[in-house]
């Protein structure tokens, strides 16, 4: 089928100034410029965003769930990284 010559792009939208871009889905396009236009048509029909990023799906490198231990160790043994591990003297304010 002829759309196989088109490339898949992941679409990220900033919904408002000051916010992060968020992944919303994907579109097929022939190149980056076309991907931007298609993304606008598909994902922004009612002011859902003020800025779009498109990235070729094949350019995204993702971690695997099995990486969790090494990548995302919550470091529970390092309590000193959290403010809660420092008890404050009674009566001290604004800290």
């Amino acid at each position: 089928m002829s759309e196989s010559t088109l490339v898949l792009f992941e679409v990220f939208v900033r919904s408002n100034r000051g916010l992060d871009h968020q992944h919303v889905g994907s579109v097929y396009a022939s190149d980056h410029e076309q991907a931007l236009v298609n993304a606008r048509d598909v994902y922004i029909r009612r002011g859902e965003g003020v800025s779009i990023w498109v990235v070729k799906t094949t350019d995204i490198v993702a971690s695997q769930e099995s990486d969790v231990d090494t990548f995302y160790d919550p470091m529970d043994d390092k309590a000193y990284r959290h403010a809660m591990s420092y008890p404050m003297p009674e009566g001290v304010k604004n800290i």
Binding site: M1, S2, E3, S4, T5, L6, L8, V24, G25, S26, V27, Y28, A29, S30, D31, Q34, V42, Y43, R45, R46, A62, S63, Q64, E65
Partner: protein, 314 residues
């Protein structure tokens, strides 16, 4: 098989804990295939669903109704794309989904195999068909597969416009001449039962339901959702001073729900099998539109190729 068990436990645990399953997570093959079936069917329904209404764009009674219908139908195209995009995260290509739709291997909602005969049908479709779809889709916002749930949230934001523009058409017709009221009533008579069928077979006869509930692909059963739709629609019809075509429809004080008559399941299965009024036309039209768009896709690719060449040369 034994070494798979910890992964399966971990998977079910996530689901029981109301966590979402994401594309890179381990999942049972049956979960993946079940989702591909349901999500691609949902995507196809959005796309094929453009046809019964699309037929009325050029015959809308005013310029205002035309632009409203145009953007409603455009939304449905968008819904199809959100869902195809979400389904692709499960490892199936869009081309393959398209091929399965066109070969008949993949289904879409049977309701779109009914013809849209009058302008009132456009009102009834928006009010009843989108209304039924909303009940289902609101429930699916909490489905266990992340990309599906997020697509549903995006879709639901757009659906209430669809239902309201349809109801608005019905209100105007209901307030109109006797002929207009009659046209509105006739549309309700034809769309009511197929709308109830949209929720699928009774829970007791639903093949895929139990596993889907355990995996939280579905959050509420077919019968629960159908009841919800009936309960909320009766009053909307009363406001129109029109009637739902069901002599058995009445409030049940004890159940605190409306009782309603039995669906013609024979008709339901006939239409699924391909014997509805429009099954063949819908697919024929899809194939035609797809073929006619080929040159656009080819031109886009050729243009991108030339641009890349020019860049290399510079």
């Amino acid at each position: 098989m034994n070494d798979l068990v910890p992964e399966l436990d971990n998977f079910q645990q996530k689901i029981d804990d109301e966590q979402r399953i994401e594309p890179k997570d381990w999942m049972p093959e049956k979960y993946r295939l079940n989702l591909i079936r349901q999500m691609s069917q949902h995507a196809h329904s959005e796309v094929i669903g453009m046809q019964p209404e699309g037929n009325w764009i050029s015959s809308a009674p005013s310029l205002y109704r035309k632009i409203v219908l145009l953007s409603k139908v455009q939304d449905e195209a968008g819904h199809g794309l959100y869902l195809y995009s979400a389904t692709e995260t499960l490892g199936i290509t869009r081309a393959e989904m398209n091929a399965r739709l066109q070969s008949g291997e993949s289904k879409y909602a049977s309701i779109f195999n009914y013809p849209s005969l009058t302008w009132a049908d456009v009102g009834a479709i928006g009010w009843l068909v989108d209304g039924a779809a909303i009940v289902n889709q609101v429930s699916l916002q909490r489905t266990s597969y992340g990309p599906y749930a997020r697509a549903m949230i995006r879709i639901c934001k757009e659906e209430s416009f669809h239902q309201r523009q349809g109801y608005d058409i019905m209100v105007k017709l209901a307030e109109g001449s006797p002929a207009q009221r009659e046209m509105a009533q006739d549309a309700i008579n034809r769309w009511w039962w197929p709308s109830l069928m949209m929720f699928g077979p009774h829970d007791s006869d639903s093949v895929n339901s139990q596993q889907s509930m355990k995996w939280k692909i579905k959050r509420q059963s077919n019968d629960e959702l159908r009841q919800k739709f009936v309960d909320q629609t009766v009053q909307q019809c009363e406001i129109l001073k029109l009637e739902l075509p069901d002599p058995d429809l009445r409030w049940n004080e004890e159940r605190q729900h409306y009782d309603f008559g039995e669906i013609d399941w024979d008709e339901f299965y006939q239409v699924i099998k391909g014997n509805g009024h429009c099954n063949r036309d819908r697919i024929k039209h899809h194939v035609k539109a797809h073929k006619e768009g080929a040159w656009v896709r080819e031109a886009m690719t050729a243009y991108a190729g030339k641009k890349a060449q020019r860049k290399d040369a510079a």
